[in-house]
């Protein structure tokens, strides 16, 4: 163990940091994008995970190919908090352009591991500096100039491992997994880790309080990003047609899906049971999804805000003509092009009502990577059951960052392919009316093109139609259709994933949130309890239309804080449209919308301001 190498006396540095801070801090790795730091960051993260310590990683990257500043935040938390921490305590400063600002941003008592030649150690006296000649070490172990950039990154992994007391054996095991079949690559990378580790052991004097110590809190857990989890969900939901247009931060949903399809969905004869098509734009992508859904395929697309805007017209057609399809929206910061590589939850309203006219959509809101998997599968079932487009709303934080999770479970129920009549059914029934509510669930039966029966066909249209799918402009026929669609939406309330009761202790104050806000909010509620001795309840919303349970939750609480990552309080607004007037007045918003993933401190602070000024005003 590396810790054994450190004499206790070493801890008493010039800053008098005597108290060890174990498994409860954040590391900020500041690099330049395109420098290959991603795999080094991943090794560092997985090493902490390998030590059994709960960990999360947040990549704050620029919308750029190479050369711009990027930060990777790794948080180790013995309590299992995985949200972004307000401030990182340990900085690895490898980007000369931002190094000065990065050092100045550290909290007092923080740590800066810097390239020696940057000479940053005169900037502050209240932090610990470790100067490392990264370039010199790199040159000494890597004669090949073009590999140096990558090797340099692994050196900081070694330095950090030694300083933070991460077991070198764990780092080695992680690297071996990563480069399982590439011995040479492994040798090069582990050589670099070791060089950094050895340099630190021989030359650096541990004088900061931050340590990683072994725990057993990650046993059996996996690490995955939400986009990969969504892709996995789609594949295990039996998706057959994927149409998409590349857009950050959703691209990796389709990449993950495609990889899995290629591995898992090719017949012994080498034929594909799937089609992936890169469309010419998002208009085409959603059109293909609806065409495929209409013809019976489980179809999906993945996009982000600008793509959602382009999909508006078709989304209305899907709603009105009742065609299944699944649309993943990995939200980024808007409006317009916004900040493409920053996160936000600001598409909720536009997605819920996407398209002109009285259009509304089922929206699923996963709050973890596990739910990305589960709700993806649910989305395909719901789309076919309800015969409508279903949106799965995640965000860049959930989608592109690494999250710890329990392993995903295999679905227990078979696929729900919804109400489809076969030729035999038609023979028995003597025909059908596509949009007639024969079962009282507001859902008609459909047939698929190619069904070999003279009565199978119907005419799908975005124009006004009767229950036999014929064109109509008659007021009563149009209105009856709109009323059935409204009833169908109403019935979806109890078919969509139910909200999760995170805490229900009979407190006066309730919290509502959705999606990636969850991790910061649960941490914040602990802070609120500890700092202010205020007890709170929390219900996490997982779908629109809202389940009855949400109304009941609001009814039970005096005040309900709605926490979300957008400026305009979109979830609160949507709730206000849905809740009775006496409940609407209970809602208060806590908002975070600077593009960074929300952190617990920000929620706690806003809560304190609103809650305690409220009490004064009483």
């Amino acid at each position: 163990m590396a810790t054994a190498d450190l004499a206790l006396g070493q801890l008493e540095g010039e800053h008098g940091a005597k108290k060890r801070i174990v498994n409860d801090f954040s590391i900020n790795v500041a690099t330049v994008n395109g420098s290959g730091s991603q795999s080094a960051n991943s090794v560092l993260l997985k090493s902490i995970f390998g030590m059994g310590v709960p960990v999360s990683g947040k990549n704050l990257f620029p919308s750029n190919i190479a050369g711009q500043p990027t930060w990777f935040l790794i948080r180790a938390s013995k309590d299992g908090y995985v949200a972004r921490k307000h401030q990182a305590e340990v900085l690895i400063a490898l980007n000369p352009e931002t190094a000065q600002a990065d050092v100045l941003a550290l909290p007092s008592g923080g740590v800066a591991i810097c390239e020696e030649s940057l000479k940053l150690n005169q900037l502050r006296r209240d932090i610990v500096f470790y100067d490392v000649p990264f370039d010199k070490i790199t040159a000494s172990i890597c004669p090949e100039a073009k590999l140096r950039k990558l090797v340099k990154n692994m050196i900081y992994v070694g330095v950090a491992a030694q300083l933070l007391a991460i077991d070198l054996g764990v780092v080695e095991a992680g690297l071996r997994r990563q480069f399982a079949k590439k011995q040479k690559v492994f040798d090069l990378n582990f050589g670099a880790v070791k060089a950094g580790y050895d340099y630190a052991r021989a030359n650096l004097f541990k004088s900061d309080p931050y340590f990683i110590e072994p725990m057993d809190k990650t046993a059996g857990k996996i690490i995955i990003d939400g986009n990969a989890a969504c892709g996995m969900g789609a594949v295990f939901a039996g998706v057959t047609v994927v149409a998409w247009y590349p857009i950050t931060p959703s691209t990796s949903v389709v990449e993950a899906t495609t990889d899995l399809l290629k591995n898992l969905r090719v017949t012994p004869e080498g034929k594909a049971t799937f089609a992936v098509i890169q469309a010419e734009d998002e208009l085409a992508a959603i059109g293909m999804v609806l065409g495929a859904g209409w013809a019976g395929a489980r179809s999906m697309t993945a996009t982000s805000g600008p793509g959602i805007s382009l999909m508006a017209e078709f989304s209305g057609l899907g709603y009105f003509a009742e065609i299944p399809g699944v649309i993943f929206d990995v939200q980024r910061t808007g409006p317009s092009t916004g900040m493409p590589t920053r996160t936000q939850q600001s598409d909720l309203l536009s997605v819920a009502f996407l398209s002109h006219g009285d259009t509304k959509h089922i929206v699923l809101l996963p709050g973890s990577v596990k739910e990305c998997f589960e709700l993806s599968m649910a989305a395909f079932d719901l789309a076919e059951r309800m015969q409508t487009p279903v949106f799965v709303l995640t965000d860049l934080d959930l989608g592109m960052n690494n999250w710890m999770s329990e392993p995903f479970g295999y679905p227990e129920k078979p696929l729900d392919r919804g109400k489809v009549l076969t030729a035999e059914d038609l023979e028995r029934l003597g025909g059908f009316a596509r949009y007639r509510d024969v079962d009282g669930d507001a859902i008609g039966w459909r047939t698929l093109p190619g069904t070999r029966h003279p009565k199978a066909a119907y005419f799908t249209r975005g124009t006004g139609h009767t229950d036999t799918a014929a064109y109509t402009e008659k007021p009563e026929e149009y209105q009856a259709l709109m009323e059935r669609l409204a009833l169908k939406f109403e019935k979806a309330r109890e078919l969509v994933p139910a909200p999760v009761v995170v805490r229900d202790t009979g407190a006066q104050i309730g919290f509502l949130a959705f999606g990636s806000t969850d991790c910061a909010l649960t941490e914040s509620l602990d802070q609120i309890s500890k700092r202010y001795n205020v007890q709170t309840d929390y219900l996490r919303i997982r779908a629109y239309p809202f389940a009855q349970a949400i109304r009941e939750f609001v009814a039970r609480h005096e005040r309900v804080y709605v926490v979300e990552q957008n400026r305009d309080a979109q979830l609160a607004s949507l709730l206000k449209l849905d809740l009775p007037a006496d409940q609407v007045v209970k809602l208060r918003s806590i908002l975070h919308y600077n593009g960074l993933p929300v952190d617990a401190e920000s929620i706690t602070e806003q809560f304190a301001v609103k809650e305690f000024s409220h009490q004064e005003s009483l």
Binding site: G287, G296, S299, Y410, R452
Partner: protein, 345 residues
Amino acid sequence: MATAVVSPKVNHIGLPILEYRGGKSTLCAGCGHNAISERIVDALYEMGVEPERVMKMSGIGCSSKSPAYFLNRAHSFNSVHGRMPAVSTGAILANHTMTTIGVSGDGDTASIGMGQFVHLLRRNLPMIYIIENNGVYGLTKGQFSATADLGSKLKTGVVNELPPIDTCAMAIQLGATFVARSFSGDKKQLLSVLKAAIAHKGTVLLDVISPCVTFNDHEGSTKSYKFMQENDEPINEIGFVASFDEIEVDYSSGEVYEVEMHDGSNLRLRKLLEDYDPTDKPNAVRTLMEAHDKDEILTGVFYINTEKPTFIDQLGLVDEPLGTLPESLTRPPKEALEALMAALK
């Protein structure tokens, strides 16, 4: 049968033509589109296509209404303006065993739908794409479309000063494998082209000049019945012999270009334009460009390629429709998920 007197005439799969008809047209009397619908009915009937094995796709506009006026026994999808290609692509990926007929217009294709149109052509998706081309927007009362010829005049006297988009030239260049132009008033030619189109495997682009009797059939229009009757220059005379027909054709070799289709049928193009080779791409495009300069409206089969793989071939899809594959083929087994989970630990 003893009561043969009342039995209607049937095609080679035993269906009377009645089974290929559609609803009553709501388009204007005399609209070229209605004639095209009638020829589609004839072609499907004569080719003995099973009605339930056809998908009728369209966008928005007068043309896009017409799938309601033929083949009631086929599923139809009247989508949104300019987006028939995307919906068709999705539907065909879900079920590539179908015969797919897309009906679009000149506005639906060459203006709002241009983005999707060109990409459909690139993919050589197996479908018949018909443009019912009248050079104007009918439902919004007669504005020029992007296929209106230079100098063509609206009823209001407005003259078109922008060059037309030649969808056939584009289709040849971008990858369609059967490109033809016809005229709604030429029953024989249109029927032959449609039958050959049904036999073709790949994207068929069929531009049919189809006069708008209400907004573009006057003196000064280049898409009127009169103008077409005077300026239609067929480059070949089209003979189509279906695989199930046993007809001897008396063309002498040398003046006929013969194409063997995928289904075993034969397309015989009697050359009207000297030495026109419908497999020569650059020549096909050049011929069309030259015709524009001479104010000629060429019709006939401009280009055909029966070798090029379709998008379905390229994707290597299973023979069965993707849309109705059983769960055993689409949901990977439990062990697959467990292996994925183990790799993430």
